[in-house]
Amino acid sequence: MNKRSIAAPIVLVATVLFSLVPLVREGVELPVAEHHLLHAVMLAGAALAGILFVGSPVRGRPGSPAWLLAAMLAPLPAMLLMWPSDYAYLETHAFGHVVEHLGLVGLGFVTGYAGQRYANGIGWAAGLSVVAMAALAAGGYGVGPGGAANVPPAPQAAVPGTTAAAFGEPHVANGAKLFGQNCAVCHGVAGAGGEGPSLRGESARKSLVLAEHWIANPAPPMPKLYPGTLSAQDVADVAGYVETLK
């Protein structure tokens, strides 16, 4: 009996006991980040136990590729078990919570054990990897930005002069060309629709003046292309074209 073969079951038992904590502390609400970190500790213990159980391999050749596959794949269901929107539910259902924990322990154990069975050192690499994944999760997986979400109110942009005279006489042919270049991407060819609404029959909904006003001052998500990409005359031309769509 060497130190390793004594340590292995001790670490495993300690980890399993740790994973049973929800049974005695039901209903405790933890911030998701903290919860992820506790799971990382659980995974660390389980992976370490797995590594210790393999002992000191004395061999020249690596183990079967199946061990490697197991070690590389096991962390993925572990991440899925750490599904953040489930945490609130689990915290009030101790039994399910413990089952989830035991799942993590099992997967962590497999990661460390299978890794070491494949090649000496890979258990450590895979074990560190799964722990790192759980720890990194605390930074943003199910965790939003802190108190910094004070988005300032959108300033009211001054509306430039939008009388019909400001835009000039529409030239429909040029408008059709500009429409194809700038508008069809969302409104579809000939205004058939796409990500943006169909513009067929738009003349019944908007007069020329209203169409020009809308193009010059759209509501998001429609981009505001005037006065950057489109000149005032361009706005008139496109509006004129849109008015012809049936």
């Binding site: 599904w83 953040p84 090649a119 997986y141 965790v143 930005p145």
Partner: protein
């Protein structure tokens, strides 16, 4: 023997994907030149495929070369694992292709959460196919890294031996114990597999988070965290392709120059630097995110600078020393290997300038960025890979390419390539943003020049492919006689 088979499987798959992505890329530049019309939705779908396709293509090719070289040192390396990893790569590639064609996924390869979930003009299943495809590629990559890492640890005696720590700190005792350090190419394998393992881990974290959000949108994801992980994974993965391909220099140049290249203390220490700086340089992608902790920005700049030191002081300097006054015959193989080093330096200069924060204020997300990484990839990584391919073909065929073939290839791939790249740099300096389906002036004019350059590059590449087939046929005949 099966080491060669793994190498050619990986390399030819990578080069085939590269060729298809090259055609897609020429289409994109031609569209930006307003020479052909591609609607923005399709443009961004093709751009998404082009981005990830090129990186995976270069990675596959580089991983193939490295695997072969590791197996020469460590015969126990099991080809079954290499093929298993290859299978995951291929499954990932298929899934990604399906997400773009017919899925029309268009959120680009370094997408920033909340993309691709907001404003998507493609069906949700395409998002899932893209994300799952990326995850499969990551798993394949981690399998490859774990196998090679395990083999290196076993062969050289743990991390200490793999990184030649004892060799560096007490050379005399080391030599007296009759030990030898790992050869230079094994340092490349060590850094790629070690940093690659970390890169894959990070990629799987962000990948899983996004897949979970895709399934369950009530799961919140922090956008700044997501961006950090996306670039820690993305920058490192792309950067590592260069360090995969550099193994071709370490073995190919000594073959061509008939000189020797040994592990030295500077080489080992240089790779230690790379091991660290590759991973922490990624902060330079977040310079314009002022919400980042400021110390990260400082670390980003200094490590981006220091990452260049091992390259210019050891690898490139050593490569030039090998070639200088060596009497080496210029063939396509030696030409590509040497030109790749030049491309690496030029791309590095552009990168280091952009990695300077006050400069980045003007160049961030302009076409300068694709300028520098296309230099690295087209005139660095690709050339190292092609150089390695041709050195191998030339050795097996016992023949080299004629002067006209070398000139045609060179004019196309270096001349045309330079025109293609200069267009990016000029446009970036003029403030033309990147990832614009429709570019403001002078974007389209420069895109036209780029398209011409890219077509010339393609012509040079075709000459080189034909020549490669000729050499391959010759070596088959050699083997039979």
């Amino acid at each position: 023997m099966s080491g060669l088979r793994v190498m050619w499987t990986y390399m030819l798959t990578g080069l085939a994907i590269f060729a298809l992505m090259l055609l897609a890329g020429i289409g994109l530049r031609a569209s930006q030149a307003n020479w052909i019309a591609i609607d923005p939705g399709t443009f961004y779908s093709i751009l998404s495929l082009h981005g990830i396709g090129m990186i995976v293509a270069m990675a596959l090719a580089g991983l193939g070369v490295l695997w072969y070289l590791v197996r020469k040192e460590i015969p126990e390396l099991d080809p079954r694992v290499a093929y298993m990893a290859y299978g995951f790569f291929l499954a990932g590639v298929v899934s990604v292709i399906v997400s773009v064609v017919p899925g029309k996924y268009g959120s680009l390869w370094t997408m920033l959460y909340p993309l691709p979930f907001v404003g998507a003009y493609w069906p949700s299943w395409a998002t899932g196919a893209w994300l799952v495809g990326n995850a499969l590629v990551m798993i394949g990559f981690m399998l490859w890294c774990a196998q090679v890492l395990g083999a290196l640890l076993a062969r050289y005696g743990g991390i200490r031996g793999m990184l030649a720590i004892d060799y560096v700190f007490d050379r005399r005792a080391f030599a007296e114990a009759g030990r030898t350090p790992p050869p230079p190419a094994m340092f490349a394998a060590a850094i790629v597999s070690f940093d690659g393992f970390i890169t894959g881990t990070v990629g799987l974290v962000i990948g899983t988070a996004l897949i979970v959000h895709w399934i369950d949108p009530s799961v919140v994801v922090n956008p700044l965290w997501a961006k950090n992980l996306t670039y820690l994974f993305g920058h490192s993965f792309a950067n590592l392709t260069m360090y995969m391909a550099v193994a071709g220099i370490y073995v190919g140049l000594p073959l061509c120059t008939k000189r020797e290249y040994h592990t030295s203390v500077p080489l080992a220490v240089a790779w230690w630097g790379t091991l660290l700086f590759v991973m922490i340089a990624y902060f330079h992608h977040l310079y314009m995110d002022f919400a980042q902790m400021v110390w990260m920005q400082y670390v980003g700049e200094i490590s981006s600078y220091l990452a260049a030191v091992p390259v210019v002081v050891v690898t490139i300097y050593g490569g030039v020393m090998l070639v200088h006054r060596s009497g080496m015959r210029w063939s396509l193989g030696s030409m590509f290997l040497y030109a790749g080093m030049i491309g690496w330096v030029v791309g590095g200069a552009a990168a280091v300038l952009d990695a300077t924060i006050p400069v980045n204020v003007d160049l961030h997300n302009t076409l300068w960025v694709p300028g520098h990484f296309h230099t690295y990839l087209l005139e660095g990584v690709l050339l190292f890979i092609l150089g390695w391919v041709f050195v191998n073909l030339e050795q097996r065929a016992g023949a080299a390419s004629s002067l006209p073939v070398r000139w045609l290839t060179g004019i196309g791939m270096f001349g045309g390539g330079s025109l293609f790249l200069m267009s990016f740099y000029l446009a970036g300096a003029a403030g033309v943003p990147r990832r614009y389906a429709l570019e403001p002036a002078p974007g389209p004019y420069l895109a036209g020049l780029a398209t011409i350059g890219a077509l010339a590059f393609l012509a040079g590449l075709l000459v080189c492919i034909v020549e490669g087939i000729r050499l391959a046929r010759l070596s088959k005949r050699e083997a039979l006689t």
